[in-house]
């Protein structure tokens, strides 16, 4: 990142922290919380799905691990701020199991395996009511006692900033280049000496950890969780869609994707009421047909084309002059 870009990033972060001075209603703060929460989750997914090109559709497993750790552990005397940390550790343990099995598969098989793991966890949570409260759900303690919505909003902004920082570090490090090599051609990456299994697992650990923290915040804000919500396919899909909509494999993509998708889906709910899922579905179809590289990808392609056209223009003029 160049110096000017770092200043822009720091400035945006500061502006996001100051937003609660202007936005004061609980509803708006909750919508903004969701925007930043999914920005952080999208950034986390992007490490595996974007940079390493491994299409995980089971991130609800890590999200749910964080949420359930936040709900269950305080009952055993674990303090409020230690619970999310243990949730992160639990999610990383899940990631070791899920990644260990799934990363040996490629293409749609990998995606299906991640879905199956998340679904098994959802069904376990549903069918073991003595542990998780089952379908009835379970209460989650609140991490913050005062100015609840504002505090959760700020926590989501900080989580997004952390995820963004990790992403920028990854995209410039040797580790990140390994991941991109795996995305472009896994066999070639293996043949030039990259330990692909280990690299993919490490990326998944980072991703799962951030996702679990997001799950803990989510559960803790809404005070109540059920398996069909925090461990659902819908959560997994939404995380992946946010990243793909903005632009997979870019640092800004998931943030933009979350801003667009979450504000669109909130607006649709208010404007179209019962038809909001229909409109949301149409949005997905439009993205596939017209914006397959995501927002950032499409803009980059457009900029590159413009730049090359600009660069070509004087050359053509010079050629024309020399010809005459």
């Amino acid at each position: 990142m160049t110096r000017s870009k770092s200043w822009i990033a720091a400035g945006s972060f500061a502006v996001c922290l100051l937003i609660p001075l202007v936005v004061r209603t609980d509803y708006n703060l909750q919508v903004l919380f969701r925007v930043f929460l999914f920005a952080a989750l999208g950034l986390a997914w992007n490490l595996v799905g974007g940079y390493a090109g491994q299409l995980s559709l089971g991130h609800a497993a890590y999200f749910g691990a964080g949420a359930y750790a936040m709900a269950l552990l305080p009952h055993f005397g674990v303090s409020l701020w230690v619970a999310p940390v243990l949730g992160i550790i639990l999610a990383v343990a899940f990631a070791a199991l899920i990644g260990g099995v799934s990363f040996r598969l490629r293409g749609p098989y990998f995606a299906l395996a991640t879905i199956a793991f998340a679904e098994v966890l959802r069904l376990l949570a549903k069918n073991l009511p003595s542990v998780t409260g089952g379908d009835v759900g379970i209460q989650v303690p609140s991490l913050f006692a005062h100015a609840i919505n504002r505090s959760f909003y700020l926590a989501a902004v900080v989580l997004t900033a952390i995820a963004f920082g990790v992403t920028v570090w990854v995209s410039r490090s040797k580790f990140g280049y390994y991941l991109m090599a795996i995305r472009e051609d896994e066999d070639t990456a293996l043949s030039v000496g990259i330990n692909t299994a280990r690299t993919k697992l490490e990326a998944l650990f980072l991703s799962a950890g951030i996702t679990a923290m997001g799950g803990a915040l989510y559960g803790s804000l809404f005070l109540f969780i059920v398996p069909d919500q925090v461990l659902s396919l819908d959560i997994s899909n939404e995380i992946a869609i946010v990243a793909m909509l903005g632009g997979a494999g870019t640092a800004l993509g998931p943030i933009l994707g979350s801003i667009v998708l979450e504000s669109a889906s909130e607006t649709f709910k208010n404007v179209f009421h019962e038809a909001h899922l229909l409109i949301y579905g149409l949005l997905l179809v439009v993205v596939v047909i017209f914006l397959p590289e995501g927002i950032v990808g499409t803009v980059n392609t457009w900029l590159a084309r413009r730049r090359s056209a600009l660069a070509a223009a004087p050359k053509q003029r010079a050629q024309r002059n020399s010809a005459s």
């Binding site: 299409l55 038809a275 909001h276 229909l278």
Partner: protein, 306 residues
């Protein structure tokens, strides 16, 4: 999703235990035949054509609602009405391929997933807006009838009828894919997408017909499930993942493999419901799926083709 007409499991005698297991296996086969139709449709779409279709269950749901709509409007028995419903779904699948899938600029797995998820949301919400979110059920006189085999085994009549029709139509679908020109062309495209147009195959036409056929397979299953199921807009969701499970168990690209996997899945779910309870059936499906994926990715009945 429970097996039909399960008797409670009695522990008293070995013979009773044997009969209840036999009953569960038979019920499982009845359910499994309908699963097989769902799986064969998906085997055509995902296994042969490699289109990752997350709307398969939604197509099944549309088949149910179309049959239901025909029954409500004309009183036509669903065992005839499903023919029209599945013809409608064939056209819908054909149009979806021609209008959307053919024009996708990027054909990655994720773009296909995104597109079919979008379609699933659109159709599910459209049905909910039209028919409401409530549960509906058909009242057919056939529903109450049971066929008794000896003293201990009884089979529910509508399930038997659906089973018979599913076997006939499933065999027809298999014959179509294996022995007609279009079926051969579809398999040729699966083997080599670049050589097949050089052999004079119109790839998009064949793919559009195959996609329509796969969607119709889900629609037929929906029509045949209608008499024995409650219907509601999200009823199809459970079948999407099961269809993927069947294709992978049966071996990618194998139509008959998916059909056998459907029967196996039906029996496994029925036995799981009997011994552990209904709520574990789906978890066992996924556990088997993960075991097969990690130990034998070519599928249990895996032909290595495609």
């Amino acid at each position: 999703m429970g097996a039909p007409g399960l008797r409670s499991w009695k522990r008293e005698s070995g013979l009773d235990a044997f009969f209840s297991a036999l009953q569960a296996i038979l019920n499982g086969l009845l359910t499994g035949a309908l699963y097989a139709l769902v799986g064969m449709g998906m085997a055509l779409i995902f296994g042969v054509m490699r289109i990752v279709n997350f709307a398969h269950g939604t197509f099944l749901m549309l088949g149910m609602y179309a049959t239901y709509f025909i029954f409500e409007k004309t009183g036509l028995n669903p065992y005839f009405g499903f023919v029209f419903a599945s013809a409608f779904l064939f056209c819908l699948g054909y149009l979806i391929y021609r209008g959307l899938i053919q024009h996708m600029p990027v054909h990655s797995d994720f773009m296909q997933i995104l597109l079919t998820l979008g379609l699933a949301l659109i159709f599910t919400d459209a049905i909910q807006l039209t028919f409401g979110a409530d549960y509906h059920q058909l009242n057919l006189p056939l529903l109450a009838k049971n066929v008794h085999l000896g003293q201990h085994i009884s089979l529910n009549a509508p399930w038997l009828v659906s089973f018979g029709l599913a076997v006939v139509l499933g065999s027809g679908m298999y014959w179509f894919v294996m022995h007609t020109r279009i079926g051969r062309a579809a398999r040729a495209i699966a083997q080599n997408r670049y050589a097949s147009p050089l052999m004079g195959i119109n790839v998009h036409r064949v793919q559009a017909v195959s996609f329509g056929l796969g969607v119709a397979g889900a629609g037929i299953a929906g029509g045949l499930l209608l008499p024995v199921f409650y219907i509601y807009p999200t009823v199809g969701d459970q079948f999407t993942l099961k269809a993927f499970v069947m294709v992978v168990l049966g071996g990618m690209g194998s139509i008959q493999g998916a059909a056998v996997a459907g029967l196996v899945l039906g029996v496994v779910e029925s036995l799981t419901s009997l011994y552990w309870g209904n709520e574990w059936a789906l978890a066992v499906d996924f556990a088997i799926f993960l075991l097969v994926l990690s130990l034998r990715p070519a599928g249990i009945f895996g032909s290595q083709r495609v």
